[in-house]
């Protein structure tokens, strides 16, 4: 589904990703782990097409097609979703209007009118079970995008957007960091549900918290801008026990 071939990415005149190779098959769960600053977020942002993350070498393939030079909205339309490590605040943009727009983009359906009650009705109808599972009530939907959200609320809102968009591939950048145990369990269950619903998961994570909720197919270790090792679930457990030294030399 996703294939990176010798990907090199430069940010502000510094090469951060220095030739990464990666292949993610459809309907699987892949993990990327690696020390802080190794380039995991940079890799994710480059795959999603952030203009400040310049691809200076290699290629990104999605479903067999070269998407290296596509703009971010086109990548999203083809089915790539990125849950941000640090979601961005957008003042004045109401959650419920925004979600309605995302749903409209995917399905072509719209609320009856732009009146608040109709928009809320529309979004609740489309996302009801997910809203409930995430503990987002109607009052919460009235808030501005990520403004004043707690760490956990931000991560959960990213998950909600994933369900609004139903991508083919969801790249989740540390959906478990800064999240309390209860929220972690909720996120874990919903990621498993996403997988059941046919969404391929590429998960960037440090903790075993989510690992326990998911049947992980493959684990990739990132170090200094490269994928230095790939393996099965046992690789994650070995690193959890003995640190990254196991694979870095």
């Amino acid at each position: 589904m996703l294939r990176l071939e010798g990907l090199r990415v430069r940010v502000e005149d510094r090469e951060i990703i220095k030739g990464a190779n990666l292949e993610v098959q459809g309907r699987q769960v892949h993990l990327i782990i690696g020390p802080n600053g190794s380039g995991k977020s940079t890799l994710a942002l480059a795959v999603a097409g952030h203009p400040a993350y310049e691809v200076v070498g290699g290629k990104i393939f999605f479903e067999g097609r070269d998407i290296t030079s596509l703009p971010p909205d086109e990548r999203a339309r083809r089915g790539i979703f990125l849950a941000f490590q640090n979601p961005v605040e957008i003042e004045g943009l109401n959650m419920v209007d925004y979600l309605a727009k995302l749903i409209e983009k995917r399905t072509g359906e719209k609320p009856l009118t732009p009146l608040r009650e109709h928009v809320v009705e529309f979004v609740t109808e489309k996302l009801g079970p997910y809203l409930e599972a995430l503990g987002f009530n109607e009052g919460f939907l009235d808030r501005e995008i990520n403004v004043g959200f707690s760490g956990g609320e931000k991560k959960k809102f990213e998950i909600l957007q994933m369900f609004a968009l139903r991508p083919k591939l969801a790249i989740l950048d540390e959906p478990d960091s800064g999240v309390d145990v209860d929220s972690l369990n909720i996120i874990g269950r919903l990621l498993d549900r996403a997988l059941q619903e046919g969404i391929t998961l590429l998960l960037i994570t440090h903790t075993g918290g989510l690992y326990r909720h998911l049947k992980v197919d493959r684990v990739h270790v990132m170090y200094d801008g490269r994928i230095v090792a790939s393996g099965g679930g046992d690789l994650f457990e070995r690193i959890q026990e003995s640190g990254f030294e196991v694979v870095i030399r």
Partner: protein
């Protein structure tokens, strides 16, 4: 045709005669016509170029009994302004002015039974002459500047609203001003009076369809809020990019009275406006909230002047502007607290967002207090659409246009929140249209 004193005076007389005005009004017109040649442009509009010679100053239009009788293009303009027909019927008190004449009006029986006077001002002069006379030109006079002199010489149309003591008008009263002929100068005169404890919300929409080439709008609005009254005025302006917009707006608030001015300004070649609100009575307050959007070569020089003349008065000014292309939007916020106005406070907030490198924005605060026991604050911010916000939205599949529109609408939200739903929704549509094709 050249604009001579003789021509202007005879034009003033002719308008007065056609409208069947009383002598005192004709005299104001004649005197003002002569003043025009002696006075300068208003200070805040010195740099605005107006070709006075080429304008048509009085252009009566056909009247309609029913909305359906209005010419198609006018109805389209009204809709473009955000007033679909069903909603127009719902707005209980409303009138439509095309060029110099009121062409459509309906004011509900409910208003009449409350003793509220809400009607075209020329009719109010016939039916309530003394009342109109006691408020006419009291807050803005022809001797102040060239534009006001021209206004008082040639004004036509506008609304007169009088709300008696203690009456709360249960729905907004609205008026629409449309410029159609070409080239035209439209000078509506509106007076809103709220007696003690009265409450009223007046909504005015102004528009000129895009086929107008050269036009001038120079209306006057005078607002009186007596003790404890609350007056809210929502002005929605969507001008074609050849309209020069030089309105005059004045308000005075007596003790505990509130004046709230919400203004959405889109388009026009050049707008220069400087509403003045006097907080004359103890405990009175003013809130002035505005949004402005410029594109192409458009320029807005907006601003506000608030004078705190009594103790415990409060004012709040919020200006939000967005400039696209080579548009320029500027805001001058002047708040003065005089000595003795103890316990008063004023706050000015101006934010602007630039959508292109050639767009510009400037904020000029002028805060002054002669009273130690008072507070003044100012905040200004000029920003660009942040790349991270844009990317966040685009990574969700929204196009660049859609993403920018959302960010801009979010930016305007604190102002749009104060605008009734139907109108707010149209403002959103207009902004969407303006951002298209970036």
């Amino acid at each position: 045709m050249s604009l001579t004193e003789e021509f202007l005076v005879s034009k003033a007389r002719q308008i007065s005669k056609e409208l069947g005005e009383p002598d005192w009004l004709r005299e104001v017109r004649e005197r003002s016509a002569r003043l025009f040649f002696k006075l300068d442009m208003p200070e805040h509009a010195r740099h605005v170029k107006v070709d006075f010679e080429s304008l048509e100053y009085f252009s009566p239009a056909e009247k309609a009994e029913k909305l359906e009788e209005l010419p198609q293009e006018i109805r389209e303009t009204l809709e473009a302004l955000g007033i679909p027909e069903e909603e127009m019927e719902m707005l209980a008190g409303m009138q439509v002015q095309v060029d110099s004449s009121i062409v459509y009006q309906t004011f509900s029986d409910q208003l009449r039974s409350l003793g509220v006077i809400a009607m075209p001002i020329d009719r109010a002069i016939r039916e309530h002459e003394d009342l109109v006379r006691s408020y006419f030109a009291r807050l803005a006079g022809p001797e102040e500047n060239k534009i006001l002199a021209l206004h008082y010489a040639l004004w036509a149309g506008g609304t007169f609203i009088y709300v008696p003591e203690g009456v709360e008008v249960p729905f907004p009263i609205s008026a629409l001003f449309v410029m159609r002929s070409l080239p035209i100068a439209q000078a509506d005169h509106t007076i809103v009076v709220a007696e003690e404890g009265a409450k009223v919300h007046y909504i005015e929409g102004c528009s000129a369809p895009s086929y107008i080439r050269e036009a001038l709008h120079y209306g006057v609005t005078e607002v009186w809020a007596y003790p404890g009254a609350e007056v809210r005025i929502t002005t929605m302006q969507n001008w074609a990019n050849h309209v020069i917009n030089l309105p005059t707006k004045r308000g005075v608030a007596m003790s505990r009275a509130k004046i709230e001015w919400v203004e959405s300004l889109m388009g026009s070649k050049h707008t220069a406006v400087r509403p003045v609100i006097h907080l004359r009575g103890e405990g009175s307050s003013a809130r002035n909230v505005g949004l402005s959007f410029v594109k192409g070569e458009e320029r807005h020089d907006a601003g506000v002047v608030i004078r705190h003349l009594a103790p415990n008065t409060k004012s709040q000014v919020i200006s939000k502007s967005v400039a696209k292309d080579r548009g320029s939007t500027n805001f001058y916020g002047k708040v003065e607290i005089v000595q003795g106005a103890k316990g008063s406070s004023g706050f000015v907030q101006c934010d602007s967002l630039l959508l292109s490198p050639e767009a510009s924005s400037e904020t000029i605060p002028a805060l002054r207090s002669d009273e130690i026991d008072s507070e003044l604050g100012h905040e200004a911010y000029v920003g660009k659409v942040a790349e991270d916000k844009l990317f966040y939205l685009m990574s969700r599949g929204l196009s660049e246009e859609e993403a920018i529109t959302m960010i801009v609408l979010g930016f305007f939200e604190p102002v749009v929140r104060d605008i009734p739903f139907e109108y707010a929704n149209e403002i959103k549509k207009l902004i969407e249209l303006s951002i298209k094709g970036m």
